[in-house]
């Protein structure tokens, strides 16, 4: 019979704050190991392995910080497989700040093991080059448009060549959005004036990726806000908020981008900063914590974070202003992770949809489960992303809804791809598009 070995336990000394290379992970000590989060975690529920559960990952991060384990391939794989969807934060009674812990762990992974050449090139392309530089992103968009317009994309999709592409490229290909025509990609005017009695003066984050691919969302957002009495500013020169960098472990650049974003928006003097993408909103609300270590910025960042609002959160504060035309359709609502878990916004979008005449909203089972998009997760972890996407599509099919409404471009791309793979003709709309439709036809 074998004997269990004596385990080198955590040092029985006075508590010293736990950190990974300067980034605090003291939050791990809030986890009391109750396990109440397990069944809410998508990766755990798919695999049943506790290293792929919130409790397990927290334990890995804690053990890393305590020096009980090192960053082995296996540890990296389990931490990488986390969606950062934060469903665990919603259910955790102990208030473990999971999102901050996984970001610190990812920064440590980046520091210790920046990965192979492909991974580095991918990061550089995304984080360094494109996201920080709107113009480079626009140039890439033109390339994409050409690829689609030339018929090359249809050919690639039909031929199945994509499956022969290396690594995660097939996933990339399947996700490529159909790029909207130039009119929708045109930047918003610096000011869209309020209609009717003025309620507020707001500034809109037009974002990096979605200003190209989803310019229509920004235009719809501006119109709906204007209809509800807002002067909508779209400050020129805004770049990326840094969310993808932070989630991916690129801490240094995330800080730079946060500072630039704060400066740009402060200069507008707007009452609120409105965001219509989930990851950006959740991330910007966390600027206070992100910059807490820099005395010159800490307070300024928290003040700024207090002005950031998701578009649904902002609109739901007052009844929608009429007139609204009927939108006779049955839809179902998918909760983007960083809206529902990251910002705890669950009631508001449903409340807004309920005010649209003629619109029938049916409940989506597991509506607050990640669809697998999760930032760039669908590109880095195509297998798990695919499993979660198929689960999402099964749930959508069961509702028999005519359209899916959600509130985040990443989810829209992902769910569209999933529906396309099942040959289902169910459009996926941003919440603001539904509201905009009701206003436009009124």
């Amino acid at each position: 019979m074998t004997m269990a070995p004596v385990i080198p336990g955590p040092p029985a000394t006075s508590p010293a704050p736990l950190a990974l290379h300067g980034l605090s992970v003291e939050g791990v000590n809030q986890c009391v190991h109750c396990g109440l989060c397990l069944a809410s975690c998508p990766t755990f529920s798919e695999l049943g392995t506790e290293m792929d559960s919130p409790r397990g990952r927290i334990f890995l991060i804690k053990s890393l910080a305590e020096g009980r384990i090192g960053l082995t391939d296996s540890t990296v794989a389990h931490l990488d497989l986390c969606l950062d969807c934060r469903a665990c934060e919603t259910v955790c009674p102990a208030g473990v700040p999971y999102g901050r812990l996984i970001e610190a762990a990812r920064a440590e992974i980046e520091r210790q093991r920046p990965g192979g050449a492909v991974r580095r090139a991918f990061r550089w392309l995304n984080f360094g080059l494109l996201l920080g530089r709107p113009r480079a992103l626009r140039a890439a968009a033109v390339g994409l448009r050409l690829y689609q317009a030339s018929g090359l994309q249809a050919l690639v999709r039909r031929s199945g060549i994509a499956r022969l592409l290396p690594g995660t490229l097939p996933a990339w290909e399947a996700l490529l959005p159909s790029l909207p025509p130039a009119a929708d990609r045109a930047p918003l005017p610096p000011l869209t004036p309020a209609l009717g009695p003025r309620r507020s003066r707001v500034a809109l984050l037009t974002g990096c990726v979605q200003s190209i691919v989803f310019g229509a969302h920004n235009q719809a957002t501006a119109r709906v806000l204007a209809r509800n009495g807002c002067d909508v500013l779209a400050p020129a020169g805004q770049g990326c908020c840094g969310a993808l960098n932070a989630h991916g472990g690129d801490h240094a650049r995330a800080i730079e981008m946060a500072k630039r974003t704060i400066e740009t928006f402060e200069a507008t003097g707007a009452d609120a900063v409105i965001v219509n993408t989930s990851g950006c909103g959740a991330h910007m609300k966390g600027y206070g914590a992100l910059l807490a270590g820099e005395p010159a910025w800490a307070e300024r960042a928290s003040r700024f974070a207090g002005t950031v609002q998701d578009v649904a959160e902002f609109l739901a504060r007052e009844p929608l202003r009429g007139p609204l035309a009927p939108v006779p359709m049955t839809v179902t609502y998918h909760d983007p992770c960083h809206v529902v878990h990251g910002q705890k916004i669950r009631r508001q979008p449903r409340h807004l949809l309920a005010q649209v005449p003629g619109l029938r909203v049916v409940d989506l089972p597991e509506s607050d489960w990640c669809c697998g998009s999760a930032g760039i997760y669908n590109l880095t972890q195509p297998e798990m992303a695919g499993r979660l996407l198929r689960r999402k599509v099964r749930n959508i099919e069961a509702t028999r809804a005519e359209a899916v409404v959600t509130a985040n471009p990443g989810c829209i791309l992902q769910i569209e791809a999933g529906l396309r793979a099942r040959s289902l003709r169910v459009p996926v709309l941003h919440l603001v598009e539904v509201l905009d439709r009701a206003y436009r036809h009124a």
Binding site: M1, T2, M3, A4, P5, V6, I7, G9, P10, P11, A12, T13, S14, P15, N29, Q30, C31, V32, H33, C34, G35, L36, C37, L38, A39, S40, G48, T49, E50, M51, G56, F59, L60, S63, R68, I69, T72, S74, T75, H78, V91, C92, P93, A94, G95, V96
Partner: protein
């Protein structure tokens, strides 16, 4: 850190993989580390492998392999247990049931569901809910714990007061016995013939074999439910109210007590509507036929008021009711807001002794320089003092263990027991002599020997042990406080 020689270990790994597949075996040190504890972090033990079967045949094959190799093995569900029950106390295999989580069949006419053991408790109620049914045993961990873990620990929950514990809801089980044989105990109907072996298996804490299918009763959802929150400025008033309710012959479905420290933690967590300044609150639920419910509720409200309640209110709608229960059921986890760790006790006492025992608990814990939060099944007299501590502070774990022992002693002295529902596991095995004579224990040992003659199935649990290879706290082995005082001995 491997305890097995390297080449034996890799040969074993290959053989396990041939049974459950490559992605069904864990042996990396960081992965095994994650499985070192359950919901009670006071104890830790490392397995050599964690194995993930997907069917009964896998389980049987793995168990036969373990027998051939004389390797200990233990089943693990969600690992929410609070007594170290699923820890591999002597190394060997942890057999995770989490990939066997299907609802296999539901017979609504006869109100029976057959499920796999890794199914999450609440998911069974979700599965049969649309047809108006539910599974009654509702441990507070029901959103995560498995039916397999529930049967092993004979788990209870708030509604145990009216509906009984798990054993009252299990009809039969398919079990892989400790020698690898696959048998059915009991049946899928209520009148199985012969010895009630299913009843014997339930509560055996994973030492009689591994359940692979479980037939349980499902109940029709009650026609009406009413949930009352009573708020008190003194704990003793709340205790008195519990007695007053039961004395009036009322049988609520649940009577739960929650004290101030706990109220504040769950309010921080979810803002459930418990008043932060209350010394204690009772959450009382009535369910059943609509007719007569109003009258019963009035009598309960009256009993609470007469006992000194400062406020009594009824949940206005289902949303408020859910929120109150969410607070109650998240209580253990919410202690993370006030302390990095806690140890939950599970004593059972006669209801009339509530004020005395709660008073003693506070004294004992304070004498050890620690804090305690109480949230428990008051109607059953099933206490859960949660002793809060910081494992990083030298000496605190030892003080927790000592205080825990004293509390269990008090429970035993007033005619109660050391565990209501969390099982004996590793944690309370050395306290069994508080309750049972040597002859009692020897008889139980002989029953265990009938199921588990080699002792390979979940060793080191339930019975007092001479050796302990499990690590509790900073040192590998430390005699329990009572052992030092000669109150109990290891054998």
């Amino acid at each position: 850190m491997a305890t097995l020689a390297v080449d034996r270990k890799s040969a074993l790994r290959r053989e396990l993989e041939s049974i459950v597949g490559r992605d069904g075996v864990l042996s990396d040190p960081d992965e095994l580390l994650v499985y070192e504890s359950d919901g009670l972090t006071l104890f830790r033990a490392l397995a050599d492998f964690v194995v993930f079967p997907t069917c009964a045949e896998h389980v049987a094959a793995v168990v036969r392999l373990a027998n051939r190799e004389a390797l200990p093995f233990v089943a693990r569900g969600a690992g929410t247990g609070l007594s170290g029950g699923c820890l591999p106390a002597e190394g060997g295999l942890v057999i995770s049931m989490m990939r066997m989580n299907r609802v296999l069949e539901v017979d609504y006419d006869n109100q029976v569901a057959v499920v796999e053991p890794g199914l999450v408790n609440l998911h069974l109620s979700w599965a049969v809910g649309p047809r108006g049914f539910y599974y009654a045993p509702d441990p507070s961990s029901q959103q995560a714990c498995t039916i397999g873990g529930n049967i092993a620990n004979n788990s209870g929950g708030p509604h145990t007061l009216k509906y009984g514990v798990t054993v009252n809801h299990v009809l039969g089980l398919e079990v892989v016995l400790p020698d690898g044989e696959l048998v059915w105990l009991g049946g899928k109907t209520r009148d199985a013939l012969g010895y009630d072996l299913a009843g014997v298996f339930v509560g055996s804490e994973g030492t009689f074999g591994i359940a692979t299918k479980i037939a349980v009763r499902i109940l029709k959802k009650p026609q009406a439910v009413k949930t009352v929150l009573a708020v008190f400025d003194q704990i003793d008033q709340a205790s008195a109210a519990v007695s007053a309710i039961i004395a009036r012959g009322l049988v609520p479905a649940a009577v739960e007590m929650i004290d101030q420290l706990t109220i504040q933690a769950v309010e921080d967590a979810f803002g459930c509507g418990y008043p932060r300044d209350a010394a204690a609150a009772l959450l009382i639920e009535l369910d059943g036929l609509r007719a007569g419910m109003e009258a019963q509720a009035e009598r309960i409200v009256a009993a609470c008021r007469e006992s000194g309640a400062r406020e009594v209110r009824t949940a206005a709608d289902e949303a408020e009711r859910q929120l109150l229960w969410k607070g109650r059921k998240s209580a253990f986890g919410a202690y993370g807001r006030v302390s990095p760790a806690y140890m939950v006790m599970d004593g059972v006492i006669p209801r009339t002794k509530l004020p005395y025992v709660l008073g003693r608990v506070n004294e004992i814990v304070a004498a050890h320089g620690l804090r305690v939060g109480n949230v428990f099944h008051a109607g059953d007299g099933n206490l859960h003092p949660n002793i809060l501590y910081d494992p990083r502070k030298p000496g605190e774990e030892a003080r927790v263990v000592a205080a825990g022992a004293e509390i269990m002693k008090v429970c035993a002295e007033v005619g109660g027991s050391i565990s209501g529902e969390h099982g004996i596991g590793l944690e309370k095995s050395d306290f069994m002599p508080f309750i049972f004579s040597a002859a009692d224990l020897a008889f139980m040992q002989s029953l265990k020997a009938a199921f588990n003659p080699t002792g390979l199935c979940n060793p080191g649990k339930v019975f007092p042990t001479k050796k302990s290879c499990v690590e509790a706290g900073p040192v590998a082995y430390r005699p329990h406080a009572i052992e030092e005082r000669g109150l109990a001995q290891r054998f």
